[in-house]
Amino acid sequence: MTDGVSPPSPTGCRLTGETEESRILLRLRVLLAQATIRSMVTTARLRLSLVILLSALFWGSLYGLFYEAFLFLDSLHAEVISLLFNAFFSSLMVMLVFSTGILLYSGLYTTPEARLLLTLPARSDTIFAHKFQEAFWFSSWGFILLGSPMLVAYGVVRHAPWTYYALLLPFMVAFVAIPATIGGILCMLLVACLPRLRLHSLSVAAGLVVLGIAWLGWSAMAGARADTMSAAWFEQTFARLAITEQKLFPSWWLSSGLLESASSTTSTAPDAAEGNALALAEALRFLALLVAHALLLQLLAGRLAQRVHRLGYSQLSSEVPTRRQRRMSWFDEVLSRSGTQAGRPLRLLMVKDLRIFRRDISQWSQFLIFFGLLGLYFWNVRSFNYQHSYAAMIGFLNLAVVGLILSTFTTRFVFPMISLEGRRFWILGLLPVHRDQIVWSKFLFSFLGGLVPCCLLVALSDVMLGLTPWLLGIHEVCCVALCMGLSGIAVGLGARMPDLRENSPSKIASGFGGTLSLVLSSLFIMAVVLVTAVPTHLFLAREGIAWSSPARSGLWASVGTERGVLAGLAVAVVLGLIATLVPLWLGLRSFRRLEP
């Protein structure tokens, strides 16, 4: 009876068939997608346009990059393309297993929708398929955005026939389905067998795998420091990456299939036509292999869902919440007790935010992973043995990367803070705390919280690049300006455009205000880095330690002096002050008048 179709009851109800149930859930998805698109077109045009524009820019830049890289490799090391494809797709495969697993964990077990569907007469395997489609889409669009420019560029360089381009999408979809389904299976097994470890184990494992892959990648690149980018360096690196060329890996099937389908020629000679047909047949064989495995895994996942989904949901609900006594840490104690009595409310608000940050795994784990990866990259940057002429500019690029990473955090976590506070306004509103102090406490929390890791990362980058203390000083001043300005933008705009109805920080951050905050933050970072990098570069070029020839006269010559560098630095500091004070002033004014 569990999976059957029942005859109608006297009230007209019956158990629906599998196909009918899938159709109902598909219709639900279509309705939700239509409503979401309509609402984005009418209320979030800026965000939609930015997403499309930035995606197109990203795609175009990647295409250009890959096109040049394939031209270079095709002429020198054509045989390594297969190895590169395998390394790329096998890394993505591992990441897709984890990303889909985590998305499905949330979709199948923790969302209110899961609870609703489990109280309806719905099949567990249909619920799994419904949530899988969602996770599949979310985890594969990044892959398609990253993989498609690479594969299109390869096809263009290799003069691949039209069949290659026609097969790209089926290949990618069939490939993504395999690690995604494995992720789903692992997620269901983990929840059913190890409910108490649940998200923590998943996130710790995912973090370890990401760090492990990063470490492997860097150690693969790091071995031959003296021969960077030489033939010997390439050979050593590729020998290390050969581990990804396992014939049982779906990534190998994908690489081989794509390479086969691109290997056809456009010649019309009879023997060429026969060769083309053989290559296409071989490519289709690999595609069939991918599709067959994807379908088999889907079947297994469906069967598994029937057995363990409801059980897992029940197990997960059985978890006893931790009732660990949480005492005040020494740091909180020092922060709340030090300073003047007048500033105490502000410090207490900061202590509260610090505690919430420490106890929210999603916040600090992302912070740790992103800054950890950046630290790993900076630590290994010396492996590339850059010449000094490049090193100074790479130092500025690294500064920009630190700023960009910080801006994603300020937008994602700091911008929504005022909105979330707004929902608890009745608590704060009754306290003897001036509203300004709430805004300033958020700013100080964000500024001081970002300042320490960012300055350390910038220092690490410069030391590893072997830059002079003079350049290190310039970078550190810029870093302070960036931390200050980014915090000002996020807190100021957060107070100026709060969303008091929403209680999900991610939804608040992805609204108009959050998008504007991200755009302004990016522009601010570009401005600060450019006004200091350009005069510094021109100055170093004049001194003969940067790669381009210095301008001998005119504006550029005057910019490329010590005074020009100092002026650039002063402009960066002024930009930092403007980015801090203007949004904060707007935010404070608006927040004082806010009626929750």
Binding site: M1, E21, L32, L120, P121, R123, S318, V320, P321
Partner: protein, 263 residues
Amino acid sequence: MIEFDSVTRTYGAKVAVSELSLSIPRGELFALLGPNGAGKTTTIKMLVGLLRPSRGAVRVSGHDLVGDPRSAHLHIGYVPDEPCLYDKLTGREFLWFIADMFGMPRDRAEQRIAAEIEHFELGEFADDLAESYSLGMRQRLVFASSLLHDPDVLVLDEPMVGLDPRSVRIVKDLLRERSRAGMTVFMSTHTLAMAEEMADRIGIMVRGRLTFLGTVADLRARSLGAHAASGGQEVGGQQSSLEQLYLELTSGADATPVGKGSP
């Protein structure tokens, strides 16, 4: 219609529901009372199939919630304490989705949706997206969706939370009407007055155990008996002594709820 057969549910070492045996016949309106953490929500979650009993069995209309959950769900309507809707669906689209999931024929579904929209006075906003609904509107829509398929058993977890007085009246009238027509209603509530007004029988749960099962008249008789036995003076009338007995039955029982989502 509803049967709890020696049901025990544990959360680690903590026993949330202990050896619950309870049978509720067709057409009865049953109210489960108890303080926070008494095990009411755990009981309800087992009744709607979200939680599996550690021991024992729960059956609805003869269908076991673990062995045959889909068939059991066909007979259950559920109104959770926190209404779950799709924000990007309109109220009417949501009702159609529920009707489709219950396999209702189109003409029957159309008729039932129209009737429930009218009954819960949803017409004005039935074609607006649910994201614009207030808590009370959401709750009314969930009520409408839970009754769409004419369930044999209606399970309500704190049903009046978020409803305005008019909606409360609509719901009370509807529960009486439906239970007279043969629908079994199982609801959890904190409010003794609500149970007293509505319920045919009440159960009082304390620390996972059913400490009282009977009618309000039984509870009142026990209350008066206890009062007379102690030789006390009648101070606030019968209502006061009923409340007093309820508080005595549940005194010191407030416990931290266990299990995810427990109230």
